[in-house]
Symmetry: C2
Subunit: 482 residues, 2 copies
Amino acid sequence: MAKDKEFVQAITPQGEDFSRWYIDVITKANLMDYAPVRGCIVFKPDGFALWEAVQRELDRRFKETGHRNAYFPLFIPESFLQKEKEHVEGFNPELPWVTEVGDEKLEERLAVRPTSETIIGHMYSQWIQSYRDLPLLINQWANVVRWEKRTLPFLRTSEFLWQEGHTAHATEQEAREETERMLAVYTDFVENELAIPVLQGQKTPSEQFPGAVATYSIEAMMKDGKAVQAGTSHYLGENFARSFDIRFLDKDNERKYAHTTSWGLSTRILGAMIMVHGDDRGLQLPPRIAPTQVMIIPIGPAKARAQVLEAAQQIQTTLRTAGIRTDMDASEDVSPGWKFNEYELRGIPIRLEIGPRDLEAGQAIIVRRDSGEKLPVALADLGTRVDELLIDIQASMLENARAFLRNHSRAVHSIEQLHEVVRTEKGFALAGWCGDAACEAKVKEETGATSRNIPFSPPERMPTCVACQKDAAYTVWFGRSY
Amino acid sequence: MAKDKEFVQAITPQGEDFSRWYIDVITKANLMDYAPVRGCIVFKPDGFALWEAVQRELDRRFKETGHRNAYFPLFIPESFLQKEKEHVEGFNPELPWVTEVGDEKLEERLAVRPTSETIIGHMYSQWIQSYRDLPLLINQWANVVRWEKRTLPFLRTSEFLWQEGHTAHATEQEAREETERMLAVYTDFVENELAIPVLQGQKTPSEQFPGAVATYSIEAMMKDGKAVQAGTSHYLGENFARSFDIRFLDKDNERKYAHTTSWGLSTRILGAMIMVHGDDRGLQLPPRIAPTQVMIIPIGPAKARAQVLEAAQQIQTTLRTAGIRTDMDASEDVSPGWKFNEYELRGIPIRLEIGPRDLEAGQAIIVRRDSGEKLPVALADLGTRVDELLIDIQASMLENARAFLRNHSRAVHSIEQLHEVVRTEKGFALAGWCGDAACEAKVKEETGATSRNIPFSPPERMPTCVACQKDAAYTVWFGRSY
């Protein structure tokens, strides 16, 4: 992992070019590299460690809500995909097809999974016979492939990693509750672990999952005012149950179709986390998810080195014992200044400097990545203080992101205003919508913004459609999106 | 997951038909199901939980030995595979090819990875510039595909899950040490977590990894006397470094090729665990890896039920607090006898029965899955005693498997004797080998056995080649294998 140790290369400022800033940060922070396959990336260890942290926290929540992990095949026979008409139409242009193995042509083409409703639906039809087999609550961690035209590291890649939950229930009500429960799990995870505030709501029909009855999403705002759909939860009704014959004998001795759901969150969340929190100095990782929460940097002249190193080691032990993920950079081939820049770039929440004068004073200097604030802390108080600070940084990051979202969102009454908000002010617009797909399309054509979702509890109800000025049936968030 | 609650279906005895026994056990224990894609299986939750346990314990060991996880693309451009001639020849017949996306033909075919040396080699050539970038120690957890002619659940499936480590080093010595270190990690993991004794050694040239300089393996013996290669570690020399131009500027200012290694362990290890420990009653899970170590079953008449349930709950809390993975089956729709059979089938190491008379006596009954032994244990001692018993069961399982391996292995001096050992006695034969591939092929043709490996420390040195009776250059384990 070659890195020029002489200087930290400049990052394009966000205000100058947000896209270049993003690419600069993710490459210089060593999170990813471009792969030699169209639209694919390599998750380098520092990037993959973020995904491992996401997996750990989400998987815990899935298991706490009664789900178990399983694994289904990567390949989906063409005939399976065609059983659900909307589904195959939605995904067809993006599907990679395996047509031959070795030197032999396959009799039936195999799609590389873009999502697994169809193959899981097929298995569920065999596993579910009676109401006693329900609910069936399964999650899968997997790679999926969608050949996207425009790609962007983490946010939209041909292959990506995700989890996909697939559940089957005896009644519509139970399935709808599950759909909502998992949206709440995502919201809790994204807000409390990643410090990203989200807008919960239902997707409009034109934006929903192919084959779903209703799609719910959480939407986050990046620092350039664009939206990232951070997670989705779908109520699939009986659609897939009918296509794949998932039926069960109910308590009343009648054979009924199961109601199914699916829900997913992918590695795009890493892109969102970077774009929500990053700044001109680089990444900014929320403490709860940061693989390293504290980086210790011993400083001072060579003659004091042994003594300082010993103290730094002790601090590392103290913090690790307190359950704080702590590392130390005692390398001598680069300057402390270089290290300060480097670990700011990498987004480590707290830098802890310790030198001979600090030692004499019985203290260390703590520097917050979020505010840049420097605090001398008595060595005896380090465990407690660092813990408090990590909690405070986590809370501040969420609060700052909330303020940003609030300050870049407003209600609009016309397409001109909507254009102003999404293009000039760079944010989200809350607008009325009559429910006609043509009006949604008009907004998109004239402003580039799409409906993000129909919020469960909008800040206000908008009375007229932003496009046709007729009575609004819905109040909708609009925004440009990744 | 429909399961007939009236009775536990009979399992074919191992002595009658080992293959049918295996399929009976893995299906009735709900570990897997056949997928509608040739040679692929679905890992059902009870099966996937075993893989999660393997991942947890192996991943910990990889991180302790300085490795970090990353993720590389699923697809490998055809031109990459062709850069390493032996490698592509070895894998070509098993490669699924993506030739089209949506309705468009790809300009270059993409292989679905059978292993990732080539694409990782390409990335390493860009990441490694200087000796300071070495060693590079990366692991990947991934799905891979090899279109096998004969498939068997877990042991040989078209798609399987594995981890593949890929490291690069400045010198041959360091790379060889890494190859040995990871073989030792596998050995430690397989013996101490899975209670499977293994034979460590080097593969003969005809059995080594395509593109490797040397392949090392650990080989385990199933209860039918056949071998499973449980893990492999390859020293790749400069082969992949030359094919992919992985060069670095060394301390002496010379540009040199890196020495690389790779090592892998896959979901086939689950098949091995089942075939090493299972018996006519079903699975037998080693306590250290068992997702559930203790299953509590409350028994007794309805009038005592509330009191027994309360005690059972308390026991569950006590055991869980002691860090023992404990579950309880208090369902009323099946008999205790049905449950006993069911959890024996599922291989749970300890069953804990508690009824009104036990309560009066201040005890519970513990039943070991391995020996069937029943032990009354005072409630006050449960935490300690269960912990001791789990340790004892783990040790006994390893010891029993070691005795089995010992009793089914012996030295042979002729092909006839070798045939006798692998076909009639059903075990491994230790034999001399001159080093000529023709002799190895002759053994295979006449006995069906392949060379398993050349042990680092054979129990004895065999003086003459088992096939040609010339001087032996090596002492080799032969066996029929999965």
